[in-house]
Amino acid sequence: MEISYYPGCTLKTKAINFETSALALLEKLDVKAIELKDWNCCGVMFSQSQDNLMKQLAPIRTLIRAKESGRDRLLTLCSMCYNTLKRSALFIQENEDKRDKINDFMDLEETEYFGNEIEVVNILTLLDEIDKDKLKASIVKDAKDLKVATYYGCLLTRPKEVAIDNVEDPQIMENLLEAAGCKPVYFPFKTECCASFQVVSRKDIARERTRKIVDSARKNGAEMILLACPLCEYNLDKLQKELHEEDSTFETLPVLYVTQLLAILAGVDPEINDYSKHYIDPRPVLERKGLL
């Protein structure tokens, strides 16, 4: 299967482990992700205001690039890109006059975008579409019932119109990980917000969110937290380190992209991960389970 792929700004830098592991995993599953040509940043966060159309240009331009690729589905790994692209497409589908204004503004573009030509697909949805028997057959390493907390954060399940699964209790990640031999733990904080971009100006809020989310995962027996968003990853990983430095009794949990673990279980060389990008080193846990 072939699918267009939109990396977005952070997947080539901070979140490089997400990209390398996801692409290697997809290769094992016979999916070819073809990167768009000349893509730009999608703007990260969907603009919720009805009268500021400028902020819709970046995501719509990205969808124009996808339309020009000739393939009708667009894969995103980052949950923020997923959310923004999907909501912007819905926005112009529902507001014809605004759509025309946006297209007029980009009159140098050779292609117009109307709103429903491209299906934006998140990596978790794509993996979920793959037959579970095929997924199981690709798993070559025994996870030995590794206990994982699956963290969705906000943008994969909110708002409802773009949710990849149930808004309050999504199960996509759990199903994938169970098929791969892991044991997802009960985790009531899985869709709680990590304070997102507030980490820039109000780190104190983000820290307290991290503390609550990690406490919940740990109390429920998780050995690591798995997620699919580069901003959640940064917040939960980096801020745990800070919390631990401040108070050594705060016990940390490693944070990984779900594709990092799945790729290792599918036999991808664990060394493709750049472990220096982690603030909490995941190698001790992986080693304990014989996965390195």
Binding site: M45, Q50, K55, P159, C193, F197, K238
Partner: protein, 136 residues
């Protein structure tokens, strides 16, 4: 907090604008408090989300704009998905930011206060979304 009201104060132009920019009807709210109960940032807010909506119903936009609430909101949309009356509280927060910024509110991004090491360490998506939400 005592607020004196009269007909003029109740239905202000500012409140009409707030509803237009957010695309939501604040009068649908029946004050159940669900939005505030699930808000991840409420502890740091001057006015909790359900009170923001109540003040908007009374045309008290100035009062809301004087608070820090919309700058603390993380746009997580938890409030909007849980509202039994389909009020898009998260959209109201965005509209409040837009109105404040269009009125010439000072820079709240605080990027200037971060050291170059901190800026370098933050992922692009953190910095860009901070800009997206806190500037116009």
């Amino acid at each position: 907090m005592a607020i004196s009201l009269n007909k003029e104060k109740l239905r202000t132009q500012e409140c009409e604008k707030l509803q237009e920019v957010s695309g939501t009807n604040v009068y649908s709210c029946y004050q159940c408090g669900n939005c505030t109960a699930g808000c991840p940032c409420v502890d740091a807010m001057d006015i909790p989300p359900h009170e923001v909506i109540r003040l908007a119903q009374f045309g008290q936009i100035e009062k809301i704009l004087d608070s820090n609430t919309m700058w603390i909101c993380a746009s997580c949309v938890t409030c909007s998905v849980r509202c039994p009356r389909s009020v898009d509280i998260s959209g109201v927060m965005e509209a409040l930011r837009q109105i404040a910024l269009q009125n010439g509110n000072e820079d709240v991004t605080k990027l200037g206060e971060l050291s170059s090491e901190e800026l370098e360490e933050l992922p692009q998506i953190a910095v860009i979304s901070n800009f997206r939400k806190l500037t116009s």
